[in-house]
Symmetry: C2
Subunit: 221 residues, 2 copies
């Protein structure tokens, strides 16, 4: 759904204002916030499950899930004993800052160390909506093909971290990893790229270390 | 991007009018039109390549490709000797009927037997935009997880045909095929579901037979 240009400008401006307020709140609370974005089925929820299993014993973590329909993702996270709140967007293809604000008010969580926001499965719409996060993370599974960064350049340019998922499937698919790395580095020079697999465990320690480093940096910076 | 409700209604009404004109044109020409919708990387272009290889020797086929950026998909099709036209949506997450109309005017193709429209990679936005097609086809790869039909119910309800792709990867992933079939049948009772693989060739003859049947039915009906 593309709104006329002036309506779109108003919507984005309102979102920026709400995102600014959220960012200030997260700064005061010392909460690191990550906005996870990918196609449906790239493995956002699976990465969060693995992350929670590794970090929740000493960090206060919560997850906000965005979906068109069903609360399956929040249920998957809650099963691990971590607070999770499902936002249903009612058809909208992305989360916005006011939805996150409302979710936080409803959930009434104590100040958190890390808040993960799993956006609606979509490489396009969530790109323009700041949620007050510290940084965006884009996920790309090795089954999706190596042409994707250049086909969806905005999100790969805006995400500070790119997580390649399902690396255990590399022997079974055609996926030119060097080509993908080249495209991502072109779109986001200096961005971090991690290669991961929930099945083999590849890259998960590195990913969790990155989260800890960024939390420490936020609190000392 | 969600427009205010009234703006959205105007946009959709204008699209309906353009789609109606396209549908009448395709009826006059006896052209069967399929609108292919899926997440990025589910295998739309690969399915079209395999389809063209099987049907283009005796059917007049053309392909309209929708993408945010790059003309890679149209180039892949054109390499097979079939006319292909790339629409770049400039950030929009779906094709609309007027873009297809403009593409047809630019391409100036002779009347076709089958026109395949490959929509922008997205399970959400393309759902509401009629392109004058005979029917929508939704693709879901076995790497995307079995929760997807219920998470993106609108497209699975509106697509007459659901193509499960990459079935050769079933031994390497966790994917409850029976669960997916149940969800799709709940959302679209009576819809066709095909299980396919470009690598093994599974289901491709059945898929091509379906296209031929529907073309014959359109011309006799």
């Amino acid at each position: 759904m593309n709104a006329p240009a002036d309506a779109r400008q108003r919507i984005l401006a309102a979102n920026e204002a709400a995102a600014g307020a959220l960012r200030e709140r997260f700064r005061r609370d010392g909460t690191l916030v990550l906005n996870l974005i990918s196609s449906p089925g790239s493995g956002k929820t699976s990465l969060l499950e693995a992350t929670v299993a590794r970090l929740a014993h000493d960090l206060r973590i919560a997850v906000v899930e965005g979906d068109i329909a069903t609360d399956r993702d929040a249920a998957r996270i809650a099963r691990l004993g971590v607070p999770a709140h499902q936002i249903l967007t009612g058809g909208a293809c992305h989360l916005d800052a006011r939805q996150v604000e409302a979710a936080l008010a409803t959930a009434a969580w104590r100040p958190l160390d890390v808040l993960f926001v799993e956006n609606v499965g979509n490489l396009i719409c969530p790109t323009s909506y700041d949620l007050g996060e510290d940084f965006k993370v884009v996920l790309l599974s090795v089954t999706e093909g190596e042409d994707k960064p250049f086909k969806y350049p905005a999100i790969f340019a805006r995400a500070e971290v790119c997580v390649i998922t399902k690396s255990d499937l590399l022997p079974h698919v055609t996926f030119d990893l060097a080509e993908v790395l080249g495209q991502v580095r072109t779109l986001r020079p200096g961005g971090r790229i991690l290669r991961t697999s929930i099945r083999s465990g590849e890259g998960l320690d590195e990913w969790c270390a990155l989260v800890r480093e960024r939390l420490a940096a936020k609190r000392t910076g």
